[in-house]
Amino acid sequence: MSEKIATRDAYGKALVELGKENPAVVVLDADLSHSTKTIKFAEAFPQRFFNAGIAEANMTGVAAGLATAGKHPFISSFAVFAAGRAFEQIRNSIVYPNLSVTVAASHAGVTVGEDGGSHQAIEDIGLMRLLPGMTVIVPADAIETAGAVRALASYNGPSYLRLGRLAVPQVNTEDYQFQVGKATVLKEGETVAIFACGLMVAKALEAAEKLADQGISAAVINVSTIKPLDNETIIAYAKKCGAVVTAEEHNIIGGLGSAVAEVLAENCPTKMARVGIEDKFGQSGSPAELLELYGLTAENIAQKAETLLK
């Protein structure tokens, strides 16, 4: 197995690559550049990096102003603050005027770990998905993060990029080409379709192996774009398999599971189960302990699939 890399590390590295070829890219952070990894860009391009201090609302507005003048700002903080604290600034200063700013939020989900529930965003996908015209991306690994950063820099309109603190395994091949709005089938299967995003994609692949041992053929689909959702692929695999499990490191309310349920309820009602955080806040603990505690495991995905198929 290849080396595990956190998507935030891949983000920092990708920004530097992008900065070399695209002078319109500017980066802002709210005093967390060492954690969000924008420090790499700050060191490479000090003239195009702006620390806004611990003032996420203003940082968001400044990015909007930069975007009106043709810059493409990437703004970073922890997801709780980037999407939560500055929600209305994102809404009214970035998304309502349809400005091309990427809110790149790290430390999403419970795998923030020891810092505890105050710092673990479990609601950010839902918040961002509710905004008309917002694009929401949750990359599964370093390769996909690099592709997403590059795609969003030339994307017309606002976007939210959800990144994690924890190092995660590679699930995509080296030649993978990320496309906004395109889900990727990582494993074909016939009996149950597992739609996952972020670090849960790797768990879904593990779950598929466990299910194979039980004689169950599971398809695994990486739904890295939560919005606009790849309805076509989701409906096709729901129809093909007849049973669906979603998996995300987010509240089961408002995230990927909700998005998939909405599409299927209207287009092809399918029995389904959602794996995610069951409407609870996080808490302190190691990432591994927290993933276990909140049921964000391959075992839980497999178990939910088996229960559905009974």
């Binding site: 201090g53 609302a57 507005g61 400044v62 990015a63 930069l66 003048a69 200063s93 005027p97």
Partner: protein, 270 residues
Amino acid sequence: MTTEAFAAELRFRAIDMLIKAGSGHPGGSLSAADIIAYLFNEELNINPQNPDMPERDRFVLCKGHAAPALYCALAMRGFFPLKELDTLRKLGSPLQGHPDMKKLPGVDMSTGSLGQGLSVACGMALAAKLDGQSNNVYAVLGDGEQAEGQVWEAAMFAAHYQLDKLIAFLDLNGLQIDGTTKAVMDSAPLDDKWRSFGWAVQVIDGHDLNAIKAAVAKAKTEKTPSMIIAKTVKGKGVSFMENNVDWHGAAPKGEQAELALAELRKGVSL
């Protein structure tokens, strides 16, 4: 057209469009009218034939509810036909209740949610600095808006990054929806506050066009961002609206509408 005549016509048109709309914010449109009239008639380097000209000066109406004053200034400068002013707040109109840059040429930023505009103006000034452009960025804030924490985040940012091309006006009319700013949330002393945040501060009569002009000229020479605190009268120009908080967010109707227009028509040739 003299700026005095421009301001008089702007006031008349702003109230006329509010009457036709049946709702909106007359008080704050009239208090900011002279500032906006000066900027759009004399100061801003803008081009109605090319509203997105990259080197143009920027204008952010942070107190977006004064949209009628901005719309009149833009229409009078030829950004869109004057007759469109009659569509204010109507379904399908580019003249939304609060400014919408997606819908109306000449609007540099969508505003209306108080506290957010100055941050955006900072971003515009920062972009100009990065690109080595010499354009100025103007912003008009309200005094009730001074209670928003984000305003002070932006104040710190502008001083920290030495955004000397940023020139803001504070429309100090002393009233907000729920009453006097002193009673609702006293933000005084605002001159000391802005000064202590690292801004060059001037205090002027916001209805004295010469004073506005002189203040902008001085602001342009500063090495820091500038705040021009403009003491104004809410509802300026309509006798029964002046200093009366009831006219923050209500359009005049019937006899009051006629009276308001009669008072504002003086000195206006249409």
